[in-house]
């Protein structure tokens, strides 16, 4: 464990600002490292945590931050933004600063690969204080930074949210199966933290109210790029839906910013609208029999009837275990099918279908309902049976 050593070294480094009896005792920055790009304006957002002894009550002040060359200690830039808080500690202070592309390129041209953002936090009354630092790595571009290697901690560089349309907007029919895809570009590996949030009809007006659909705490399994699918998105009510994914760190965000979402740079938005379909909705066909049971030579398939059905399509597939999370099993092989008039909610296993089944083999089956125009109006989940002609 190297952490104790580091803490001791930090304490040595901060000897000149050792705490007084009632004093500021430590300062931490989150994140501890960031990457600045030479192609773009860079928004640096830092959350400073300032620890204090219990009897401290005289506030904290940091009149300026500096960006220094760690190799020489030379000050490269002074950020004249004062962070202050009154009263008793501990404190949490937030800072946003812009570093333009020209500045980054200038540092790179001088041979620098990293700089350090440093801020001293002092007690206005006693003068004691602590120093916090963030390492700012320099890279020629966002894409290049992904490939140059990075510390093992996961650092999200870019996030993209899209539907099957190839962008972040869609129009779908009611009850459609809808998911969004999230492409995350990152350095390092670790746990990707975030949350899917949605505002539904009734809450998606001018000032939307989002609710959390799901928390995400997923171990990233490969380098540089990861792909996530959203949970199944609600489409049961016609109207306007807003979807967003918020990358989150371990720290709670400021309520004043955007509840449960970090800085705007780590949020992606999408919207979709659900259209009602005139006439029938696609209903879920339930009560399938047999299911997880045996089916004899003259066995019957039964299901819940669907109003308006002109034809039922019964399909039988070879049984295959469902794929696990990590992979995809092949599509079940189609064995036989039967078309059944819409006024029936059941059918006997026909001779033709039976001729394609093997005794004591396991099969999946499902049923789909169509109206007179051939439009799907009902679907079922897959049920299973073992064909037992002698049973």
């Amino acid at each position: 464990m190297k952490y104790a050593l580091v803490t001791a070294l930090l304490a040595l480094l901060l000897l000149d600002s050792s705490p007084a009896a009632a004093a500021i005792s430590d300062a931490r920055a989150t994140p501890r490292q960031l990457t600045l790009f030479g192609t773009s304006g860079n928004l640096v957002q830092v959350r400073w945590q300032v620890a204090t002894t219990p009897d401290h009550a005289t506030g904290v002040s940091s009149p300026a931050a500096t960006i220094v060359d760690p190799g020489t200690g030379r000050v490269l830039l002074v950020v004249n933004t004062s962070l202050d808080a009154a009263g008793s500690g501990p404190f949490v202070l937030r800072e946003s600063l812009q570093v333009d592309a020209d500045t980054v390129r200038g540092w790179q041209a001088a041979g620098l690969e990293r700089v350090v953002l440093e801020r001293s936090f002092g007690d206005p009354a006693t003068g004691g204080g602590a120093v916090g630092r963030v390492v700012l790595r320099l890279s020629g571009s966002q894409l290049r930074a992904l490939r140059e290697g990075a510390p093992s901690e996961l650092l999200v560089v870019s996030v993209r949210l899209e539907f099957e349309t190839g962008n972040n907007t869609a129009i779908v029919e009611r009850d459609a199966d809808l998911r969004a895809g999230l492409t995350v570009q990152h350095t390092g590996t670790g746990i990707l933290r975030g949350r899917w949030q949605i505002a539904e009809p009734g809450s998606s007006e001018a000032v939307p109210v989002f609710r959390t659909l799901a928390l995400v705490n997923t171990q990233v399994r490969a380098g540089q790029r990861s792909y996530l699918r959203s949970p199944v998105l609600p489409t049961s009510r016609p109207g306007v839906y807003l979807l967003r994914f918020c990358v989150s760190g371990t720290d709670p965000v400021a309520v004043a910013e955007d509840a449960q979402c970090p800085g705007a740079g780590q949020v992606v938005h999408a919207t979709y609208q659900v259209h009602a379909r005139a006439g029938f909705r696609v209903v879920r066909i339930r009560s399938l029999e047999p299911d997880r049971a045996r089916l004899g030579q003259e066995g019957m398939f039964r299901w819940g009837e669907v109003p308006g059905a002109a034809t039922y399509q019964v399909q039988i597939f070879e049984f295959a275990p469902r794929a696990t999370t990590g992979g995809e099993a092949p599509e079940p092989r189609f064995i036989a099918g039967m078309l059944v008039p819409g006024d029936a909610g059941a059918t006997r296993l026909t001779e033709l279908a039976r001729s394609r089944l093997s005794p004591e083999r396991r099969y999946l089956w499902r049923v789909t309902a169509y109206d007179q125009a051939g439009v799907t109006i009902g679907t079922s989940e897959e049920a299973s049976f073992i064909f037992s002609p002698d049973g």
Binding site: K2, R147, G166, G202, H275, A310, T324, G326, E351
Partner: protein
């Protein structure tokens, strides 16, 4: 667009007909009916039962014998196309005689089809609070969308158009002040000849390819594509906007700006039976990083260059062996054209061997099995405008195996990712080793009415275990300013249970992170501080219950706990919620209500840091009165009363933020189709 009957019939061309009379193609009368003269053998065998099979589907209940003619009349239409039609006789002794195999052609009718749908929602905020959170937001809002698809068929020609347009002044998925969004649009002309099918399209264009050059690249633009009837030749040429877009703006509809355009082509040619397919592609373009759907990112740089690939794919042994080789190269400027370094050249390659049951290889004791072995190397400076997220500066060896046996499925995943494959002395070399196993169990014959399953529901279990090791030579630490040496262990278990009206699931996951890296100093500055060891535990429980035909309830709870051992810091996140839908008056009045809660807590081993507490509560309620039912061609009208409430409290910083509003609204839904 509704799914047409027997669409899956096309997937079912797996029948092996016995020796039978071969007849010439038969043309159906229309999409619902056809008739044919019965073979003499059918008339002679009085004790046999006649069966009609169409692409594996038994149509017998829809058929009748009229003298010497078999007539089939379906209640739903068949999609146009060709089907394998078989007539069979089943005898009492169990024997089967195939009387006839023929191709049934269901004709394409000339004419025009249109379908359109729309939704317009207007709402008025009758109450809200606090007022400052609604500053600048109108009391009355209108949002809506229209979708249209039309197609005209004339012989071998098809002309079509389609578009979906959204109006939303407040959408967060577009820049401020943009009111109109265009998720997709298309104009096309297609010709299906006897030699090839050719299509010219403007609108959302996709190159459905996943390789080193393309990653399912889909943008707005124009494309010309042609596919030989034999499917042996394929060509697609395209010019697209480089960045994803969703606005109704002329410069985003088509690739007009040379700084936001990617053009190229893709072609392939195959030997018969797909034993060998040669393919190649080229993309030349420029564009910005980002676009619709990306996180906000201020990047004015235009990047770009040209990239190409050639590939060879071979399927052997009845499809059981798949071999793919690919080579790609690029000249690309990634840090901004005219800025920084000039464009650089680099290359990439990939070799994949796939083996699978189902062809020449027997599945053995398994229901199925497959294996894929891959070697991939992508140079530091290889890029493609059609695949910008491709990991680079990397060499990957991977093996992926999966198999199913009775009720079990297993996946094995092994990989080594090594950066700096060119051993550039200015770059660090990092290695990530990954080994994992997934196990799934979905019992197919448990009696759901017996034992614990009658209460729990039919079970399905998935479990996984992974180990990751990352490392970097010690000497590289000073070079790049950080060290990498750690191991991560991940295990998880997911249980799902299904009953007729209740589905519920439980998931547990544990991730242990062990860091062995060393601190790195640059001068007097600590520029790399090793992260703490940590343990992350996650548990979630969700349930969906259809209590009756009129009531559905959904509930979930998720908890996550991250413990960092170095300083005894602990982070906890909890989210839970309950929502329900109620049909109060069938076909008239529905209600929906939801309650969601969040708890985010941070506690630090050093009590001199501020422990943090963020609590959130969200509630919503909507009543919807269906005043007029939508029917084809006639709008439907819904009247809504909705309210929502959100409260976010920071208990540490004593911030309490509330937001609530009540709306009344009307929603028009409209559908139209012809014929």
């Amino acid at each position: 667009m509704g799914t047409r009957l027997v669409a899956l019939l096309l997937l079912a061309a797996c029948l092996q007909p016995a020796a039978a009379q071969q007849a010439g193609p038969l043309t159906a009368i229309d999409q619902r009916s056809f008739s044919l003269d019965l073979p003499a053998a059918a008339l002679a065998q009085a004790d046999g039962a006649l069966a009609v099979d169409l692409d594996g589907y038994d149509l017998t209940p829809f058929s009748r014998v009229d003298g010497t003619v078999l007539r089939v009349a379906l209640d739903s239409p068949l999609p146009p196309g060709g089907y394998l039609l078989s007539l069979m006789l089943f005898f009492p002794d169990g024997s089967v005689e195939v009387l006839l195999d023929t191709i049934l052609q269901v004709p394409v009718g000339d004419g025009m089809t249109h379908s359109a749908s729309g939704m317009l929602q207007a709402s008025y905020r009758v109450a809200e609070g606090p007022a400052e959170n609604f500053a600048g937001a109108d009391d009355t809002t209108a949002k809506g969308s229209v979708s249209y698809q039309g197609e005209r068929r004339s012989g071998a020609w098809r002309l079509g158009a389609g578009a979906g347009v959204i109006y939303d002044r407040y959408s967060q998925a577009a820049p401020a002040d943009e009111r109109w969004l265009l998720p997709e649009y298309a104009l096309f002309a297609a010709h299906e000849g006897s030699v090839a099918a050719t299509e010219l399209k403007a609108g959302n264009v996709a190159v459905s390819q996943d390789d080193l050059l393309f990653s399912n690249f889909q943008r707005r633009g124009v494309a010309l594509q042609s596919l030989a009837a034999s499917e042996r030749f394929q060509l697609q040429a395209f010019s697209m906007v480089s960045a994803p877009s969703n606005l109704v703006q002329a410069d985003e509809l088509l690739p007009r700006d040379s700084d936001n355009r990617s053009s190229g082509l893709r072609a392939s040619v195959a030997l018969p039976d797909e034993r060998l397919r040669l393919s190649g592609g080229l993309v030349d373009g420029r564009g910005p990083l980002g676009g619709a759907g990306f996180n906000q990112f201020i990047d004015p740089a235009i990047i770009g260059g040209d990239s190409w690939n050639v590939g060879l794919d071979s399927r052997l042994a009845g499809g059981s062996v798949a071999l793919a080789l690919e080579r790609a190269g690029s000249n690309f400027d990634v840090d901004g054209i005219g800025v920084g370094a000039p464009e650089r050249s680099d290359d990439a390659m990939r070799a994949t061997l796939g083996l699978a049951s189902g062809g020449a290889f027997d599945s053995g004791p398994f229901s199925y099995w497959s294996a894929e072995f891959q070697y991939r190397q992508v140079g530091l400076d290889y890029y493609s405008m059609a695949n910008l997220a491709l990991p680079g500066n990397i060499e990957v060896h991977s093996a992926y195996l999966q198999a199913g046996w009775r009720d079990f499925a297993v996946d094995l995943d092994l990989a080594r990712e090594r950066s700096n494959p060119d051993d550039d002395p200015d770059l660090a070399t990092q290695t990530l080793d990954r080994a994992g196993v997934n196990l799934g169990w979905s019992p197919g014959t448990l009696d759901p009415d017996r034992g614990p399953w009658q209460w729990l529901g039919a079970p399905s279990i998935n479990s996984w275990a992974y180990r990751y090791e990352s490392s970097q030579p010690d000497a590289d630490a000073q070079l790049v300013g950080f060290d990498v040496d750690n191991a991560t262990d991940e295990i998880g278990l997911a249980l799902t249970f299904a009953r007729a009206r209740l589905n519920w699931g439980l998931q547990l996951a544990l991730v242990d992170y062990d860091d062995r890296s060393d601190p790195v100093f640059n001068g007097n500055f600590l520029v790399y501080e090793p992260p703490s060891d940590s343990r992350n535990t996650q548990a979630s429980l969700q349930a969906s219950w259809a209590a009756s035909e009129r009531i559905t309830l959904d509930a979930y709870i998720q908890r996550n706990k991250l413990e960092e051992s170095a300083l005894d810091d602990v982070y906890r996140n909890t989210a839970y919620g309950l929502s329900g839908n109620l049909i109060v008056v069938p076909n008239r009045l529905t209600a929906r209500a939801g309650l969601n809660f969040g708890r985010d807590h941070s506690d630090f081993g050093n009590p001199q840091f501020l422990a943090e507490r963020l609590h959130s509560r969200v509630a919503d309620l909507q009543l919807s009165w269906q005043a007029i039912h939508a029917r084809p061609g006639r709008p439907g009208l819904n009247l809504n009363l909705s309210g929502s409430y959100a409260r976010n409290e920071d208990l540490a910083l004593l911030v309490d933020d509330e937001l609530w509003s009540v709306f009344v609204g009307a929603q028009l839904d409209w559908n139209w189709s012809r014929p």
